[in-house]
Symmetry: C2
Subunit: 309 residues, 2 copies
């Protein structure tokens, strides 16, 4: 089976390519970043096209690799902060690239299945408790807004042209190779010798933490399931909330030694108090999450200590 | 006062430029289409830049004309049918051009007011009775979807960067120079000598018909009012519904002679049974519609007969 991964050189992309290759897929990638031959083999990529997602490059990839049975679309903006610093760049990466991909599929590969990685950021800040896929969407950042627009383009091509797509809204994905966000920041400060950490917010912020290895398996298994609707949205979260304070405490324990963490109480504007998945859609696939945060974070700390050696 | 009109060469754009110029604004335009010097003067345009809405052209326009106090953003896709035939073209015209415009405003003209022409097509087909601006949006065509995405970009730039924009969702705009849609089709068939017309649908489809001259005045007057919110949405409809059968009957009466109109009963997929504005937002501006359909259609028939002489 011939599948493509856009953004295969990203944090989740690299994990996904590995899982797909291990399951016997022939995996081809397109997106930004140079990947050398050795690295390409190590990742599990048959072919890597370093370039923009546009008709010319997609045609070139098809000529080289044949048409795909599925495309995992992971390319796009990956940072709320960068989307505020450079909103047009985020728009181009997330929305315009998806528009070009869909248009290419419409003309060249109508039966190809599209699995699109979106974000819980589409929901915005005003939710309490588990958020279902039909909840109101009111994104608070260009990042979340552009992900929502990406989803809407997929829905539009499904409704009008019958293209099949599955949107997977991921929650707080962490794991080996993540070099940003809370686990990275906390470990980096432990590494720098800090023993009395002051973090922003209250520590009570609830997130639905998912290990990237589970997420890569989820995406792969979605492709293996029948798709009942032309367009579907899946919440890629566990349904279990863990506070920032708990995450920091687990990281401190895994790191070892005497460490204390305090909170400034200053909440970042637009930072939701809670982003927790209603996991109905993912449970009914069915799919089981296998890496609890305690294990995932222990693995993360091990990876962190390894990579700085 | 220096104002810009994007898409100034379009059906509504040309009417708007005339109203603005008559009120003493210095009007500059950007968009597609060649406009000769004589025509430019006749329209009321001080300057016309025939080109894409991008940073280079917007900079060029600013250098030539100075920064605007307001931009009326009318550029974009203008046909449901074309948006299905060429969805990426419609995306580029409506969404990508707005992204470039907003980004340019963010860097070059943050205090400029933006008045954005959108469409009732964002609401989709499942509404009964008057539709309020907070009603669910579920567009049925790429045209409507892209207009909604355009609106969301404006909201995002308002929320994150404080850019002021007003979205005006227009309903069924007709009037002199409209060379498509129901009034044009019906008059063209009268003109061709048809006396027993068969139209699609049931004739009972309800639309909120607005004369383009009223619409041009509405857009102009919105610029003259204070804007209470950074981002606001206004329904640009009268709140009065008129059926297709009534419109056809008025046109037949204005045309003169013995004419009968029948309906096939075959409804086009995705064609809403009713698109009627809840006019609360427009009434509270305040704004009064002055051209009832009977008069507007009589004027339309006169214009039609004049232009074919």
């Amino acid at each position: 089976m011939n599948v493509w991964v856009t953004g295969a050189n990203g944090f989740i992309g690299r994990h996904l390519v590995r899982v797909l290759a291990d399951r016997g897929y022939r995996v081809h990638g397109i997106g930004h970043g140079a990947i050398g031959e050795t690295e390409r083999h190590r990742l599990g990529l048959e072919h890597w096209l370093n370039g923009e997602i546009d008709a010319a490059n997609l045609n070139a990839l098809a000529e080289h690799s044949g048409l795909p049975s599925a495309i995992f679309h992971l390319a796009g903006g990956s940072s709320v902060g960068l989307s505020i610093a450079q909103p047009f760049e985020d728009f181009s990466r997330t929305v315009a690239s998806t528009a070009r991909l869909l248009e290419w599929l419409r003309s060249a590969a109508r039966d190809c299945r599209l699995i699109v990685v979106s974000s819980a950021a589409v929901y915005g800040a005003d939710h309490e408790g588990p958020i279902g896929v039909d909840a109101a969407t009111l994104p608070m950042s260009p990042y979340g807004q552009h992900k929502l627009m990406m989803e809407q383009l997929c829905r539009s091509y499904a409704v009008t042209f019958g293209l099949h797509s599955t949107v997977v809204r991921l929650f707080s994905v962490y794991g080996p190779n993540l070099r940003k966000q809370l686990p990275w920041d906390v470990c980096s400060r432990f590494q720098a010798g800090e023993r009395n950490l002051m973090l922003g917010g209250t520590g009570a912020e609830v997130r639905d933490w998912t290990d990237v290895r589970d997420v890569a398996r989820l995406l792969t298994e979605i492709d293996g399931k029948p798709q009942p609707e032309t367009f579907q949205v899946i919440n890629g979260g566990t349904g279990l909330g863990t506070t920032v304070a708990t995450i920091a405490a687990i990281l401190a324990k895994c790191w070892g030694g005497s460490i204390s963490v305090q909170y400034s109480g200053i909440v970042r504007a637009g930072d939701p108090a809670s982003l927790l998945s209603d996991d109905t859609t993912v449970r009914t696939l069915p799919f089981d999450w296998t890496i609890p945060v305690e294990q995932g974070l222990a693995d993360y700390v091990s990876w962190f200590k390894d990579q700085i050696r």
